[in-house]
Symmetry: C2
Subunit: 491 residues, 2 copies
């Protein structure tokens, strides 16, 4: 066997073990008996130690040194790029620093949850300082003289820089602030009210998943507290949740996770259990969940079909017609919480976090000043004051577990979804006629053909450019939002 073949055989086993570890995480969140938690922690640690040993195995370094990328085809070079990156990254971070980060962030999550419940920022700050300090050390090790925050972003969105993101976000922010203000000053569509039985929600949510092409022969849906998607290739499981007063939460959580799952289920089978057999980045992943959820699922055409499905399942639920229902689905509400935010406000939440965590990582903002900075920025963009820490700086788990550089990928996903939607509409001009029948196959087929099947073959920006014919830009998303909400709110 050539060095490349040996490396790929070794990588195949590592990928399979990675799937096992992922499914263990799914089991833990979805169906594990509660008392199993301490043993599960040991099992996860054992899997992690095996995976870490394989990712840093000196044999990998030797094979990498031996292989001449020029002798490989495009797929081979892409595989090599992913393996090399993972190997170098893991080798750059000292083992004792990695262990210390794992230990501190594991503890920090509980401290954060307690502080949030107690509305006590001060109780969280000493721990957050530790996390920030350790993550900055890690960033310095990874950056090797370059920008610390860029090195962190690279983990989630390869080859993207903070400066590029900042340029994009800074251009979008004033228009989003203006759109938000105009929408909230206008007359709002009716709110949904009433009670919607959980079992009926689950029956309909399975129908919606199927309408978006979710492949139940290679996946399943379970109920959890915080919905997610897990796995690659032939076993991609999604989760959802139900609230009897808010069926949209169930339906759009499902459609969102189906978007993630469609990406993983749609990758070319030749790439199964290889480094390019996964979604290429958090941002591109989020572009799939977001375009399924928003541009397709919350559009006038699909909500027209959904309106009929809901009437069939729940009877009359007090919304007069499909047009009114379209407004109800897309109603913009005041609020503090990112995860509850609508299409108009969501990105403002992200931009706030991006600017703050960038300043933290670059040493321009002290942890002690974080709450004040958050509250000032929130007031500036949203027009009212944060009323309590759980609605402000303590609302998200991310920083407690050391996820710096992750937040911007949510908005990158929205930006990419805007670009893809524009290209898709161009390619399939009569798309809405199909969506109005609950038929998403032209849309999901286009996305699979042009994006999903390629997995990690190209870097994120190139992945979007390959599908759309143009470099990512915030402009299509802004145009889409201004048109959609201008129409609904008669601006």
């Amino acid at each position: 066997m050539s060095a490349y073949e040996q490396l790929m055989a070794f990588s195949h086993t590592t990928e399979a073990l990675g799937q096992v570890a992922g499914r263990l995480g799914w089991d833990q969140e979805a169906i594990m008996p509660e008392g199993a938690a301490p043993q599960r922690a040991e099992e996860m640690a054992a899997m992690e130690s095996v995976l870490h040993a394989r990712r840093t195995d000196p044999k990998v370094g030797n094979w990498l040194a031996e292989i001449d990328p020029a002798q490989l085809d495009e797929v081979g070079r892409a595989q090599l790029r992913h393996i090399e990156k993972s190997f170098e990254r893991t080798s750059k971070v000292p083992a004792d620093l990695a262990a210390e980060i794992a230990k501190v962030t594991s503890r920090a999550q509980g401290i954060w949850a307690q502080a949030r419940s107690d509305e006590d920022v001060a109780a969280f700050l000493p721990t957050l300082k530790e996390v920030v300090s350790l993550k900055r050390q890690e960033g310095q090790a990874l950056a090797a003289g370059g920008d610390v925050y860029d090195a962190m972003i690279d983990d989630y969105e390869p080859e993207m820089t903070a400066a590029e993101i900042a340029a994009m976000f800074d251009a979008m922010r004033p228009r989003l602030v203006a759109l938000r203000a105009a929408v909230l000053a206008a007359e709002a569509p009716a709110k949904l009210s009433g009670t919607f039985a959980s079992d009926k929600q689950m029956a309909l949510t399975a129908k919606l998943a199927k309408s978006f092409g979710y492949d139940f022969d290679h996946g399943r849906i379970d109920c959890v507290t915080h919905p997610f998607c897990s796995g690659s290739g032939l076993d991609v499981r999604i989760t959802t949740r139900t609230s009897e007063s808010d069926p949209f939460n169930c339906f759009y959580s499902t459609i969102h996770e189906v978007g993630h799952a469609a990406y993983e289920q749609g990758i070319h089978r030749d790439y199964l259990l290889t480094p390019i057999g996964h979604g290429v980045s958090m941002g591109v992943h989020e572009s799939q969940s977001r375009i399924y959820e928003n541009q397709l699922g919350r559009g006038r055409a699909y909500t027209g079909w959904l309106y009929e499905q809901m009437k069939a399942e729940f009877g009359d639920f007090g919304i007069a017609d499909a047009e009114a229902f379209y407004g109800t689905v897309n109603r913009v509400n005041d609020g503090y919480i990112r995860t509850e935010a609508d299409e108009v406000q969501y990105n403002l939440h992200i931009m706030l976090r991006f600017d703050l965590e960038r300043a933290l990582m670059q040493g321009d903002l002290a942890v002690d000043d974080l709450e004040a900075a958050w509250n000032d920025r929130f007031a500036a963009d949203f027009g009212y004051a944060v009323d309590k820490p759980s609605n402000g700086v303590l609302q998200d788990v991310h920083w407690s577990v050391g996820l710096f550089g992750y937040f911007p990928t949510y908005s990158l996903g929205n930006v990419y979804a805007g670009c893809l939607n524009e290209a898709l509409r161009r390619a399939v001009p009569d798309l809405d006629a199909q969506l109005a029948q609950g038929d998403t196959s032209a849309a999901t087929g286009w996305l699979r053909e042009n994006l999903q099947q390629h997995g990690g073959l190209r870097e994120p920006a190139a992945t979007i450019a390959h599908a759309t014919g143009a470099a990512p830009s915030g402009e299509p998303l802004l145009a889409y939002l201004e048109e959609k909400f201008g129409d609904i709110y008669k601006l």
Copy 2:
């Protein structure tokens, strides 16, 4: 760290990975989406390769050589014994032979299933010859000059020999044949008839599991085709099945698996994720499932309580009273199939297989003569001829997957259960009064205290002797069966 501490730390990770591999198997049987099978095979193979590498790691041999067992306490010596045995066993079998066995048995299972479905013994024989030949080679490697079949039994029932088992079985067989003949000549209790809704069966089966102390905080029940129990320690999951015409199948499958689970859930928490943190052998494991299912669950006292539960769940189902119900639960039926056999006939099935596979392994029976030998023996013990291969030599999967030495542990389990039941009744004289209320806690408490909590601390026979005060013997089981069925059938 001492060599022993290093060995135990290494073993801890191996044990945790073993639990992960086991849960992957549970997932596959219980809830995996069907199309995931090819990927799952890769994942299982990856886990196996990791586990095999750890079990044969030269570091283990070095630590073993360095440790002086005399310096260890009883627990330490038991841990060492298990690790040493596994290491030596894996090291004795040449890697290419092990790989060949894995390959051939994996293929053989499909060929057996097809042959059984086609009622075509000849189609299975060439493959069975391969399996027998490879397993004999493996047995020779393990036996190192000793008895080949003994070496195989040792995998499932350490320190038990074929000669000991044969002496026990040969003494039991005539009395079982006689009991069977007498029972089938007498008037039989009423058969259960009617339809019993699956969801009501599942509701009641959960109640039965709880009545036997199954800990749902460290386990769960799911439905499968072939019920089993999976996992050790804090995550021990059981499975059951429903048939609307046969609720006893569901209820007694559940109680049987609860017996297995009680053993694993009941082992001392100090032994968690160590080599002695599992049931010590197949036979001792089966003793727990069998005493729960039969001596306790099918006794007059507990079935009296179960009768009331079934009436509450299903209404009148045509059995007049608790006494008649006790007969119905224990009705002995003619039949060919081991897995459907009752307490009277089950062990005759096992003895048949034991004698045949022992002769195969010792070279005293040719694979070509196996079917004739089976049919002759069946006619002798059961009094009528096998009508088709799927009711005869092709009925069980075991031989196709190379499980030789496994069958006798089913009857050893029954024998051990007989011994334990005798000791338990002595220790808790008013047990039936409690069982009649559906309260099994005195019985399950005694088993946990005297057997389950010790896990792999002692070898199987010593485990039984520790609990009962005497070496295992077939006599208590025979006395129990003759009394119970003599009473029900008025012999």
